[in-house]
């Protein structure tokens, strides 16, 4: 890069010229500005003096009340409660430190509060009120009101705070609100949002923020020349936020949360005829009420670093292999493409080999299951049957058949944060692994392993279609008219029936894998599954699940619906590190269905009387 030679004298001349130009520019701009002030202050002076004298109207904002949230039976889940906070305008008070010491006798102030107050004193402008203490007790309020005259500049102000009545059971579903952040505020309409408004941060509170928030109103205050208030009038009343009526049945939600005991995981219960979600749990939950006014760093870190990941919403974000729970859908694909019939049989000898290849794919039962038909293959979860079927279908047909069931697709459920997951296909592998598809991968896709990443909500969406024999009822959490769509392809009634029969046999046949959860009064259909957990060391791979440390055990899955004649509830359960679907997940599903059937019976009994 050749440098031009500097010519100091000319450069100085050039710079001086620019400085003079700048100075002229500054003079012109200042003259223009001053003439503006001259116009306002001298020419228009009389006009503005009149306006100043007439100026006695002040406008202020009336906050709208945030919409409440109810369950499907009208039970209150999230409300706003009036609380009081003590504030002070530093500019209007005297001897603040002394006053704070005196206040200690009226309201409880610990060292942490004092530190927070001092921080606010440092960073806030003195003419703006700062909060001394929020959430005052009734006692504190009444004690202070009596002594108020001793504390000029101090004021008690009522305000609404959000309160969740079932914070643990509904932590991910309802989510929580918090003070609107600078970035969120910048993107909102400033005639609707104020800087200290609540804003939905997660869950339904976030998804339905617009409806829940409402529109502020306007208060007109008239004052006299000494600044004394003469009158107050609401010129525009606020429009409060809309209430949300959920499809959730809180009784069932609680039962589902309880059913997990100490286990972690997710469960979703849905009405397969409507797509209404009756319960949706991610375990463990956390106390969302702690977040509303800003959680302390210590408590936040505790939650964020907990190995159980309470902040993680497993129901819409947790990615799992479907394992054997995919088998009913693979069976349907085989029936649809006429590769099997309801009567097809095959011999399970313990392993399967792709024609002309050596690698064996094993059954879970050593020596195999012998001669099996479709119903028995589902009942006993015969891998070989589905290895063979998947291989004959090929990955393209499997992918195209599973896609409308919403595996690896966004279900469009009305809650913030849903993850997409992966439905394996040639295109996906090419784009993400830059490799061709191998036939062996098709084989394991037949038992729900391989590249699958499926969320519980996707499993629930697929199960509604399976249970309702072909209706795609979009899952939703807030009551609305149902949208029904059939699958884009026609399956014969006997095809659905044989798969239902197979799933019924899983629980009710003597050879069923989940016969332990058989119910007395009604028939449940179901299918268990295991989602592999990776990251095991060489030697751990050959250990049995019971011998492994908990965090390396496989996830247990169970899908079920009941009663089989006319399904009214479909349930998906993921018990993380539960090792076996039948042992860990099935009892949870059973207890959710039991509690639903019990509630239904109770309702019937009441209406019969």
């Amino acid at each position: 890069m050749g440098r031009q030679l500097k010519q100091p004298f000319q450069e100085k001349k050039l710079f001086t010229e620019r400085i003079i130009v700048a100075l002229i520019m500054i003079m012109v701009v200042f003259t223009l500005l001053l003439s503006r002030y001259f116009y306002l202050q001298v020419i228009q002076h009389d006009n503005y003096t009149k306006q100043a004298e007439q100026n006695k109207i002040k406008f202020s904002r009336i906050n709208p009340t945030r919409g409440l949230i109810y369950d499907r039976n009208g039970l209150l889940l999230a409300e706003n409660i009036t609380t009081y906070r003590l504030q002070v305008v530093p500019e209007k008070s005297q001897a603040l430190e002394v006053k704070l010491q005196q206040l200690k006798q009226l309201v409880s102030l610990d060292d942490e509060d004092i530190v927070a107050i001092q921080a606010q004193l440092k960073y806030n402008p003195v003419f703006k009120p700062i909060t001394i203490k929020s959430k005052l007790t009734e006692h504190e309020v009444s004690r202070f009101v009596v002594q108020k005259h001793q504390f000029p500049g101090f004021n008690i102000e009522p305000y609404l705070i959000r309160k969740y009545l079932y914070p643990m059971e509904l932590s991910h579903l309802i989510g929580f609100v918090g003070k609107i952040s600078e970035a969120e505020f910048a993107r909102q309409d400033h005639s609707i949002y104020a800087k200290d408004d609540y804003f939905g941060k997660t869950g339904l509170e976030k998804y339905y923020e617009q409806q829940l928030h409402g529109t502020p109103g306007q208060l007109v205050t008239e004052i006299n020349a000494q600044g004394k208030q003469l009158s107050e009038k609401i010129s525009t009343p606020p429009t409060n936020g809309t209430h949300l009526n959920l499809t959730i049945d809180m009784q069932l939600q609680k039962a589902a949360y309880r059913a997990f005991g100490e286990e972690t995981g997710a469960a979703i219960a849905v009405n397969p005829n409507t797509g209404e979600i009756l319960a949706m749990v991610s375990k463990p939950g956390y106390d969302t009420n702690e977040f509303i006014n800003g959680i302390s760093q210590v408590n936040y870190d505790k939650l964020a670093q907990s190995p159980d990941k309470p902040l993680f919403d497993r129901s819409i974000k947790g990615g799992y292999e479907p394992g054997s729970t995919i088998k009913p859908y693979i069976a349907l694909a085989g029936l649809y493409h006429q590769l099997i019939t309801p009567e097809s049989t095959m011999i399970s000898s313990g392993s399967y080999k792709i024609p002309n290849q050596d690698r064996p794919y094993h059954d879970w039962k050593q020596g195999g299951h012998g001669k099996v038909d479709l119903v028995n293959s589902l009942a006993e979860s015969v891998n070989v049957f589905f290895y063979d079927l998947a291989y004959r279908l090929g990955i393209d047909k499997i992918h195209d058949f599973l896609q409308p069931f919403k595996f690896g697709q966004l279900t469009g459920i009305d809650i913030a944060g849903e993850k997409r997951g992966i439905l394996p296909s040639r295109t996906w592998k090419r784009a993400n692994r830059d490799m061709i598809w191998f036939p062996g991968e098709t084989v394991i896709t037949g038992i729900g392993q391989g590249y699958f990443v499926i969320t519980p909500v996707q499993m629930a969406q697929a199960l509604t279609t399976l249970a309702s024999k072909g209706q795609v009822n979009p899952l939703h959490l807030v009551k609305r008219p149902y949208v029904k769509k059939p699958l884009p392809f026609d399956l014969k009634p006997q095809h659905w029936q044989v798969v239902h029969d197979g799933m019924t046999a899983v629980i009710n046949a003597p050879n069923g894998t989940a016969r332990a959860i058989r119910a007395k009064d009604y028939l449940i259909a179901g299918k268990s599954g295991t989602s592999q957990v990776f990251g095991k060391s060489e030697e751990d791979i050959y250990k049995k699940n019971d011998e492994l440390p908990k965090h390396l055990r496989n996830h247990a899955l169970f899908i079920a619906f009941a009663p089989i004649e006319q399904p009214e509830i479909a349930v998906v359960v993921v018990a993380e590190h539960g090792a076996s679907g039948t042992k860990a997940a099935a009892p949870i599903a059973k207890s959710i269905i039991d509690s639903f059937m019990q509630e239904r019976q109770d309702l019937k009994a009441v209406s019969d009387e």
Binding site: R3, Q4, L5, K6, Q7, E11, L14, F15, R18, I19, A22, L23, I26, M27, V29, F30, L33, L34, R36, Y37, F38, L40, Q41, V42, Q44, H45, N47, Y48, T49, Q51, A52, N55, K58, F59, E91, A119, Y123, P125, V126, F127, G178, S181, E182, A183, A186, R187, D189, H190, S191, K201, T202, Q218, G227, F291, G294, I295, Q297, Y300, A304, L311
Partner: protein
């Protein structure tokens, strides 16, 4: 401690003018916010003046030497803010308020330093290679701040860099075609604005259309200024200020308070002080020996002028509302500290030039 280190006195002319302005500001602040506000601002001013004195002790060559480092540091801070802003989950934390403001303030000094540094050895006016380098330096800073999102500050920071380019003597053809392109791209820029930013611009064009929100502030401010008249209503006697009709009267609208209570006469006095300060600074820039010193001093002075214009224009209703404080008068720490530090650079250039001559 090195004895010689504390031997450079800041330029007495400039220092006297600054002290007069700061004193004038405190008098107005007393009326707007009371004694507590004055006490606190006085502490910050004292801190800022000490900073100015300290900066004066460094030879300007030191700034020049460390410029790329300072620039890289402020860009890194901007990026840090960017990532920090994303990872905050639900929880409201104390820190994010303080930190998110600082790096963009720092850029108002570090960017003109960088551009001056780029031009320091080349012949002026610079050829296109140097101009391209300058454009990249400006683009990085302004782009990151725009992403925060803070359009107002992004434009101001970009301007502080462009002033250096202007002072470096690029041809008028270039400047005018740049202005033309800028004017023509306004409709495009409009598409990139957030809804609230568009509202501010629309409100500025017709404040009476929206009396409750932004328009209200401007109407009240104009009433305060206009009712002040030529001599003003007298110290602490302004009804607009004292009855709280005027919003933010200690910070962005402090000039409305001054106009109401000291009238047009008070405004003239203020602008006289500002003009004298600017003239003295431009004189120092013109006398400076190196390209870097000249360009930097000149650009810092011009950006000071821009702040005054934006604030005075905004509160009198001739410019849209952008949250820019009135330099050295408005209540607030960050602004006073950065401004006094940049005046420190200018006095450093002046003091060290003198000693070389002796």
């Amino acid at each position: 401690m090195n004895k010689r280190f504390f031997t450079y006195m800041p330029d007495p002319v400039l220092l006297t003018l600054l002290l007069l302005l700061l004193g004038y500001g405190l008098v107005v602040l007393y009326s707007a916010g009371g004694i507590v506000v004055v006490e606190r601002q006085a502490v910050r001013i004292a801190l800022g003046l000490f900073g100015l004195y300290l900066v004066t002790q460094f030879r300007p060559e030191r700034f020049e030497q460390f410029t790329p480092l300072i620039y890289a540091g402020s860009v890194l801070l901007l990026i840090a803010v960017f990532f920090f802003g994303i990872t905050v989950k639900g929880a409201q934390r104390w820190l994010d308020l303080g930190i998110s403001i600082q790096p963009s303030e720092l850029c108002k000094i570090s960017l003109p330093m960088m551009v001056a540094w780029i031009f320091r050895h080349t012949a002026l006016p610079p050829n296109w290679r140097y101009l391209l380098a300058a454009a990249v330096a400006i683009g990085i800073c302004a782009g990151l701040i725009y992403k925060q999102p803070d359009l107002g500050t992004a434009i101001l920071v970009a301007a502080s860099g462009l002033f250096v380019v202007f002072l470096a003597g690029i041809s008028w053809k270039f400047i005018f075609s740049g202005l033309l392109v800028g004017a023509l791209s306004l409709p495009v820029l409009w598409q990139f604005l957030h809804e609230y930013q568009r509202q501010r611009v629309l409100m500025f064009l017709n404040p009476e259309s929206d009396p409750l929100n932004y328009g209200w502030n401007i109407i009240q401010s104009k009433i305060a200024i206009g009712s002040g008249g030529f001599w003003g209503k007298g110290w602490t006697e302004g009804s607009q200020t004292q009855l709280d009709f005027l919003p933010e009267h200690s910070t962005d609208f402090i000039l409305s308070v001054l106009s109401e209570e000291f009238g047009f006469f008070g405004v003239l006095l203020l602008f006289l002080l500002y003009t004298l300060i600017i003239m003295r600074c431009l004189y120092i820039a013109q006398q400076a020996k190196t390209t870097y010193n000249r360009l930097l001093c000149g650009a810092l002075t011009l950006i000071f002028f821009v702040y005054i214009t934006i604030n005075a224009g905004m509160i009198s209703g001739v410019l849209p509302v952008v949250g820019v404080p009135l330099p050295l008068v408005s209540y607030g720490g960050t602004s006073v500290l950065t401004l006094l530090a940049s005046f420190g650079i200018i006095t450093s250039v002046h003091s060290h030039k003198k000693l070389i001559q002796q």
